[in-house]
Symmetry: C2
Subunit: 418 residues, 2 copies
């Protein structure tokens, strides 16, 4: 089965909103072994919207539309559905009750435009919206499936989880041959080095496919295999994964949708280790990532964002003379920050970063992108020097990733000799 995703919204075409919905839906459909053949983003224009509905339904099995369902006048998907499917709007009591409940829970007064959202296309099955007011629609016609959902990401995700994924899963079950996919997440190794280290791809893959996806967080390695039987595909995939791990295993921190902060969380929780962080140049990004993980209060005790030198001295007991002699961005200060935050917090581990994120702040011997990261336990400290690029935000992200990876390697005892 092939799907065509239509995202509606001028705001996406002109770059005011990033299209995260298509990615989320693509991932979920791939999981159901429905191939996303093409994504398209089109403007809030009735003629173009209807033309794309028609193109999609003529060429693919599933057309999935997001956007254009909000309460304001610029949203026109519902109107286009009525027109294209030659149906009409009918008042839906159930939807109206849900909208009322939604507002009551938030102590907000219902408005006229919200009431209007209880009118839905007669031909459609309603998809309830537990996180907002605009309902979604599911239409089956001439063997094709047409789905429309709001563009607000968490509303759309709620509908996917509650309704669309279970329903599509029912429909696809047993119909398709097995394609399995796995993604190994690496960090700390550039794409071309990774590629060379893997050697002959033909030997490695034995008929499978591989793709490399670089970003500031590292290179993702995606492996795809195809087979008649699920068991055979699983075996193939696991063999390829083992071969990859034997060559670059040290750089692999996780799989699939995992995040490094989640991996760290499990490592610390499993070992009952506690952590405190001291951040200068990342300004709290590392602790924010660590606390993105539900349950992080079990191992994360505190974070100090010692942006000023005064804060480094007062809160982390960094020696003033060391700052004067070596500068705040130095191996020595980084070490004292990591040791200091561990000592004042009474945690098992201390993690510290100091660096120059740019675009200003460089000096003769200290270029933009220079970063020191340190990790300490009771007995050992490791301090490493990094050279990142010249973009402030990317540098913060790269630094946070390198810091969390040093923590991972420290806890797992993986050395840096490769």
């Amino acid at each position: 089965m092939e799907a065509y995703l239509i995202t509606i919204g001028d705001e996406i075409l002109i770059g005011q909103t990033i299209n995260t919905n298509a990615g989320y839906i693509g991932e979920k459909l791939s999981g159901l072994q429905i191939k996303v053949a093409k994504d398209v983003v089109i403007p809030d224009n009735e003629e173009i919207i209807i033309r794309e509905f028609d193109y999609g339904l003529k060429n693919y099995d599933i057309v999935l539309v997001t956007g254009g369902l909000g309460p304001t006048h610029d949203d026109m998907t519902r109107k286009c559905i009525v027109k294209y499917f030659e149906t009409e709007l009918v008042f839906n009591e159930g939807v109206f009750e849900e909208i009322k409940t939604f507002f009551a829970k938030r102590n907000r007064v219902i408005t006229e435009v919200n009431k209007d959202q209880a009118f839905v296309p007669k031909i459609a099955t309603v998809i309830n919206n537990r996180r907002g007011t605009a309902p979604g629609t599911w239409i089956e016609k001439d063997g094709k499936i047409f789905i429309s959902m709001p563009g607000v990401p968490h509303e759309m995700k709620g509908m996917m989880e509650d309704f669309v994924i279970p329903k599509l899963s029912e429909i696809t079950r047993g119909k398709v041959k097995t394609i399995l996919m796995d993604t190994l997440l690496t960090t700390g190794i550039p794409e071309s080095v990774l590629y060379e280290k893997l050697g002959s791809l033909e030997e490695l893959l034995d008929g499978g496919k591989i793709a490399f996806l670089p970003s500031q967080y590292g290179v993702k390695v995606r492996v795809t295999v195809e087979a008649e039987e699920e068991k055979e595909a699983k075996n193939k995939l696991s063999q390829i994964e083992q071969r990859i791990r034997s060559k670059v295993g040290r750089f692999i921190y996780g799989k699939g949708e995992e995040k490094l902060e989640g991996v760290i969380g499990r490592l610390l929780a499993d070992r009952a280790l506690t952590l405190a962080t001291a951040e200068s140049c990342t300004g709290g990004l590392i602790s924010s990532r660590i606390t993105d993980v539900s349950g992080s209060s079990k191992y994360f005790e505190r974070g100090i964002v010692s942006y000023s030198n005064g804060a480094k001295v007062e809160l982390l007991h960094v020696d003033e003379d060391t700052i004067a002699e070596h500068g705040a961005v130095s191996e020595e200060v980084c070490r004292q920050m990591a040791e200091g935050v561990r000592a004042v917090s009474g945690t098992d581990l201390g993690l510290a970063v100091t660096g120059i994120m740019g675009p200003t702040g460089e000096s003769e011997h200290k270029p933009i992108g220079l970063v020191y990261i340190g990790v300490c336990d009771e007995n050992n400290c490791t301090i490493r020097e990094f050279h990142f690029g010249d973009d402030r935000i990317l540098n913060k992200q790269r630094t946070s990733q390198a810091a969390l990876d040093m923590l991972r390697r420290h806890v797992l005892g993986i050395p840096y000799d490769d």
Copy 2:
């Protein structure tokens, strides 16, 4: 002039990578008054890529392609360019020198696959890549423009800034009628309330267009006007903006691409005010956002991520009995955190948050999404209670935005009586 954006990559279709490039390019082209008519994402498939090149060049003035130029075997854009334009690859000495310099600067050894990137389509003008190794290409043929750039966002952005935007700007200058657009950034007011407060859109807009773009950071209000002369368009736009501000001005924190942390930064720097933060539930996200701004060290002194109760007591001098009596998520603790962080840091302002981000941690009287935010100066403290949703990451983002907006209102003396 109309543009067609083609993004190539299986990783985007299956949702492993979010397509941020299309948004960035859309924004830049809109700025040049080039209309992005349609975005499309297609797989790494030679036949489909060539079909899209052809469709784009037949229907639009500019075709802009990203992706598929990396050093590994799954990248096939260059091959498709050679085939579609019936040209050949030639070795480019200049590109090879740049690749060598790129590697030398990073103390890395050049690999065979990197050398291969110095071969470029003969028909093309090379777009240099100062942040990576794959060159871009610019081809003009039969009055149409074809541009190809790598998919790695910061490499693509470098090429856009250095080459593509200046060159397109030259081409479009003087050719088009004036369309101006402005975006007012609001926060703390739901889309439907905003819509109602604005009243009659016809009166408000006088022929202009308006769109509402909600997210967890607030609702963006985009206004578009069209006129023969630039001066006339500017006048129209500024009148509409004034009318909107007279109705909902308190909720507007900025314009266009501004971020709230940037607005805060200017407010504090202009007034020579200093700030310290105390975060519990946001885990450092607020200080990370504040320090995303270059020059933030002038006003941001430190941040305390007091995740444990112990850290709240030790570092912020929150009273243990207050925690025992009211709980860590309470108005009283929030007040002590804001006062405490201000006192220990010696700053003009203290900002504090404590809340329950979910998905666990609720209790009988304290649901998930409950947040207290406090801002204090020498004389006054304001503490407000918020009720957000049930998604941990969205709740962190909403809390950080509400906290920064309370800071903005505090510094500007804007009350909450509406």
